[in-house]
């Protein structure tokens, strides 16, 4: 009686999620409803991603969980510990070693490989909510591939501010049909969704939606043909810890000065290891 189920959820629940995932993979970018069970964390705290991860886990898997690129933040640690405790799978910080990576708001800096699965935690899965609150109309617009209302937002931002004002959750078009919300990843990560060798899965537990981008799928941000898609740049700045200058940096304010560090902590550590400095001493400030 005391024996617990592998990976927390019962097999029927996992089967339902896997069926939903199959449908999501078959129709790239289309949001598929699912039951969204109760989890031991509150909805809105990564339950969508957690349910996908748990439904996919095998004994041989190796799990990594990041929150804004960081393996060590409270939420990431708790979710990873929970997954490991209910399934006994190996946990890791290493992007290369992990078979399933659950993430909140970032894509790891190390290139993902075939066979890896990246699971996104999604707060708002419906990209059309900002322009069309009616769910029935949203569905019709998706079916017609009618995204002119999203384009009008882009047009208005461009005419008033010179460029789109969206900093994260930038709408992307998948395989020339569905436009979807890529979860709140920065614009920097948007081009990295395109043609990804890894399977990308998106789970919104509170909103009860799952969607997917299968490997090697065309993913493009919504943009005018005569306007470039601009991502965050960190020209002249480098990580204060490992010195990397080709990554997404977090700004840390100290009084009047700003320090910059890799948002992906594991990437930062791996650079330091290559340099032979495992202690991770910061440069003199």
């Amino acid at each position: 009686m005391n024996e617990s189920v592998f990976a927390f959820m019962d097999e029927d629940a996992k089967k339902e999620i896997r069926r939903t995932l199959l449908k999501a993979v078959a129709i790239p970018g289309y949001t598929v409803p699912f039951a969204s069970r109760e989890m031991p964390v509150a909805r809105g705290w990564g339950t969508g991603g957690l349910q996908i991860t748990l439904s996919l886990l095998l004994k041989r898997d190796c799990i990594k969980v990041i929150d804004q690129g960081c393996d060590g933040s409270v939420n990431a640690v708790n979710i990873r510990d929970f997954i490991a405790s209910v399934s006994g799978v190996k946990q890791t910080f290493s992007t290369r070693e992990a078979t399933i990576i659950q993430t909140r708001h970032r894509i790891p800096e190390h290139k993902l490989a075939e066979g890896q699965i990246l699971v996104f935690q999604v707060p708002y899965p419906e990209v059309l909510t900002t322009v069309e609150p009616d769910t029935e109309k949203q569905k019709q617009m998706h079916a017609d591939s009618d995204y002119s209302k999203l384009w009008v937002l882009l047009y208005e931002d461009t005419s008033q501010f010179g460029d789109s004002r969206i900093s994260n959750r930038y709408p992307v078009e998948v395989e020339d049909h569905y436009v979807m919300d890529p979860s709140p990843i920065p614009k920097y990560d948007i081009p990295r969704l395109n043609n990804s060798p890894a399977l990308l899965l998106f789970g919104a537990g509170r909103e009860k939606r799952i969607y997917a981008i299968p490997p090697y799928t065309k993913v493009e941000p919504l943009k005018f043909s005569d306007r470039p898609f601009k991502v965050e740049t960190f020209a002249g700045k480098r990580c204060g810890r490992c010195g990397a200058d080709n990554v997404f940096l977090d700004e840390v304010r100290q009084g009047t000065t700003s320090l910059y560090f890799c948002s992906d902590t594991e990437y930062c550590d791996s650079i330091l290891t290559e340099q032979g400095d495992v202690t991770g001493n910061t440069e003199s400030e």
């Binding site: 322009v131 019709q140 079916a143 017609d144 591939s145 009618d146 002119s148 209302k149 384009w151 009008v152 047009y155 208005e156 461009t158 005419s159 008033q160 005018f224 043909s225 005569d226 306007r227």
Partner: protein, 278 residues
Amino acid sequence: MLLEIQNLSKVYGVSCGECLDLTGVADDSCICPVCDSVVAMNRVSLSLDGKEVLGIVGESGSGKSTLLQLIYQDQCPDNGRIFYNGFCDRHGVPLNIFEASVSECSVLRNKEMSMIYQNPRMGLNYLFSAGGNIAEKIIGAGERSYEVVRNRVIELMGRLELPTSRVDNYPDTFSGGQQQRIQIAKALSSSPKLLLLDEPTTGLDLSVQAKLLDLIKELQKEMGFAMIIVSHDLGVINHLTDVTMVMKHGCLVEYGLTDQILEDPQQPYTQLLVSSIL
């Protein structure tokens, strides 16, 4: 032939099956005596040439607006077919627009046809700027270059005598007549071949009405689109249209050249309608 309407019927309510025969001009009612359904459209057939301007007149509830909404696919008919020039299936066979899929019809709605509603609130999105509203239709028709969209928006606003400096202002900061002109600019932005106008000038000041009608007429001559205008104002019909159809109780009462209908009406109802103008 730009538009071919065959035997179009629309009943509001659950039909008993005999509604169409039990209602009409002869019965002087559009409400079925058996099942109380309302017959909004009773076996109407009609065809329209490219560049032709058709007026629809009739009393309130005669089915004028329903006909426009059926053509614009805002509603589905119970019976009948509509063919549009060049709208074919994969094998080149003309396709009834009510049998086409939604995505096939979106070409018609976004590019080939435009609707101008009596109330600009129906045709405009008040959460978007004036320019944004016009841009929506241009983008919907497939344009993806910002410069092209922006220039076309400004050009259209100028053409409709709207202050181009206010392109990024919201519609409710414009006057009623200006809002109607924004709606017309939006409708014309995709260079449609058929413009549907549902009482476009009702509710506007008389002087504004006259200016707007002149503008519509001028644009029609210049751009060469066909129009269907619904109005209960025979002055508007006389001013704008080549042919006129008179409707009552969902039926087509009389059809002919506008001059002929207004000068020499044949049907008793048309005679009453024409003689009742002050």
